[in-house]
């Protein structure tokens, strides 16, 4: 296992008082708590801080931690042979010789302190999951690889890889939460198993932008299509459909294809909203230029008429 420098995580000296440790934790927690901070990596950072504080705030755990000595952060190490017996940490009952430290995390060493023999509920886990818009449309089966702590009868902990398969029916939206009862950490001494919570987000898509069950799609139109009207083919998640663009369509006009968005879990579906854009050729051929020139000379259309409105 890798040594974790809990004092460094909290930014305090090894001799810091309980009050200094608490203040340091509070200051860092407010900055990095995942419910407060949206910085990338906030969750991992907070986990490190919370893990350090859980051990250092408890005099018994702190003494056991200090007895491991000071090492560089992340250094590969094994606790001394009689450490667990002396300090009552993980593996104390079994004797550290048989305890597989290789299969445990550093934090697992301290998880057994204060454990009573009463029923202990398993830990809940929250896992972010990214799926594609196509998967949200069709439904998908997720295969999640998780590493969860498991305890044997004598309280020894080891990390066990788990694969959880979960069928997500069509209709998930960005921010959708799912609960998988009993798929979290195992309960101990008759306690219930923890739950697994999935926090779904949708991957950015080449064409569509999702909001709730609605999808937005940019619809580029040639100037003559926008002016004269046209029937254009629109890609939808269930295949192409024809859309009649009315004559006189300006940029930013929203053309709604009802029910062509993401399905709703209990029936119905959101809409696909095509947003008109006027696309102009980057380079004009000679004939094209002539025609545009003629149009410019003939047309009385003034798109900026409102600039000259009263009071300006």
């Amino acid at each position: 296992m890798k040594y974790a420098d809990y004092y460094a995580a909290l930014g305090v000296e090894r001799g810091a008082s309980a009050d200094e440790i608490k203040k340091a934790y509070r200051r860092l927690a407010q900055k990095h708590h995942p419910d407060v901070s949206k910085e990338p990596g906030a969750e991992a950072k907070f986990k490190e801080i919370a893990e350090a504080y859980q051990t250092l705030k408890d005099p018994e755990k702190r003494a056991a931690y200090d007895a491991l000595g000071s090492r560089p952060q992340g250094e590969e190490f094994r606790p001394p042979p009689d450490w667990a017996r002396q300090h009552g940490g993980a593996g104390a009952d079994a004797g550290s010789a048989q305890f597989s430290f290789d299969e445990a995390d550093f934090a697992d060493l301290f998880s057994r302190f204060g454990a009573r023999n009463g029923a202990l509920a398993g830990e809940d886990f929250e896992v972010p999951v990214e799926i594609s818009i196509e998967d949200a449309f069709r439904g998908t089966t997720l295969s999640l690889s998780l590493s969860m702590p498991e305890y044997d009868a004598s309280g020894r902990v080891r990390r066990v890889p788990h694969t959880v398969k979960a069928r997500v029916a069509p209709g998930a939206v960005d921010g959708q939460r799912l609960r998988l009862p009993g798929k979290g950490g195992k309960g101990r001494h008759g306690g219930r198993d923890g739950d697994l919570y999935l926090d779904i987000s949708l991957k950015p898509h080449r064409l569509y932008r999702a909001t709730g069950h609605d999808l937005f799609l940019d619809l580029p139109l040639a100037p003559w299509e926008a002016a004269l009207g046209a029937t254009v083919e629109i890609p939808t998640l269930s295949g192409p459909v024809s859309l009649k663009v009315p004559a006189g369509t300006s940029a930013a006009r929203k053309l709604r294809l009802a029910g062509r968005g993401l399905p709703k879990p209990r029936g119905g579906a959101g809409d696909l909203i095509a947003v008109a854009q006027i696309a102009v050729p980057g380079e004009l051929g000679e004939r094209e230029r002539e025609l545009y020139q003629q149009l410019a000379e003939t047309s009385e259309f003034d798109p900026r008429r409102h600039f000259a409105a009263e009071g300006t």
Binding site: R26, A29, Q30, H33, D35, F46, A50, D124, T141, H162, T163, V164, K165, A166, R167, V168, A169, D174, G175, Q176, R177, L178, R179, L180, P181, K183, D195, Y197, R209, A210, T211, G212, D214, F216, D218, A252, P265, R266, I273, V275, Q277
Partner: protein, 104 residues
């Protein structure tokens, strides 16, 4: 272990009881009731243990429980924090909608 599992959607259409919300969030009954009375966690139906909650609020109640543990907040502090987080959530939803409407 490789078994396909039951999946529950935590959305407005599903409801949970007070007891279920307590079990899933780790909040104490007195705390949850105070959050209900302050309006930070909206409930419907009758009084006392007959309260019903939208399953979406499981996430909110779990957040409350986490904030209580991680910041040692009391229920009044939790109530303020939850209201602010709900405003942030609503604003983020609005921003996400506006962004979706903007052409690329």
């Amino acid at each position: 272990m490789n078994v396909e599992t039951e999946v529950l959607w935590l959305d407005e259409q599903r409801e949970v009881s007070l007891r279920e919300l307590l079990d899933m969030s780790g909040l104490r009954e007195a705390e949850l009731l105070e959050l209900v009375h302050s309006g930070a966690i909206p409930a419907h139906d009758g009084p006392g243990t007959d309260y019903r909650f939208s399953a979406r609020l499981i996430t909110v109640a779990r957040t409350a429980s986490r904030l209580r543990d991680d910041f040692e907040l009391d229920t009044r502090g939790l109530s303020v924090a939850l209201r602010l987080l709900e405003r942030v959530r609503a604003l983020e939803e609005e921003i996400s909608r506006l962004r979706a409407e903007l052409p690329r």
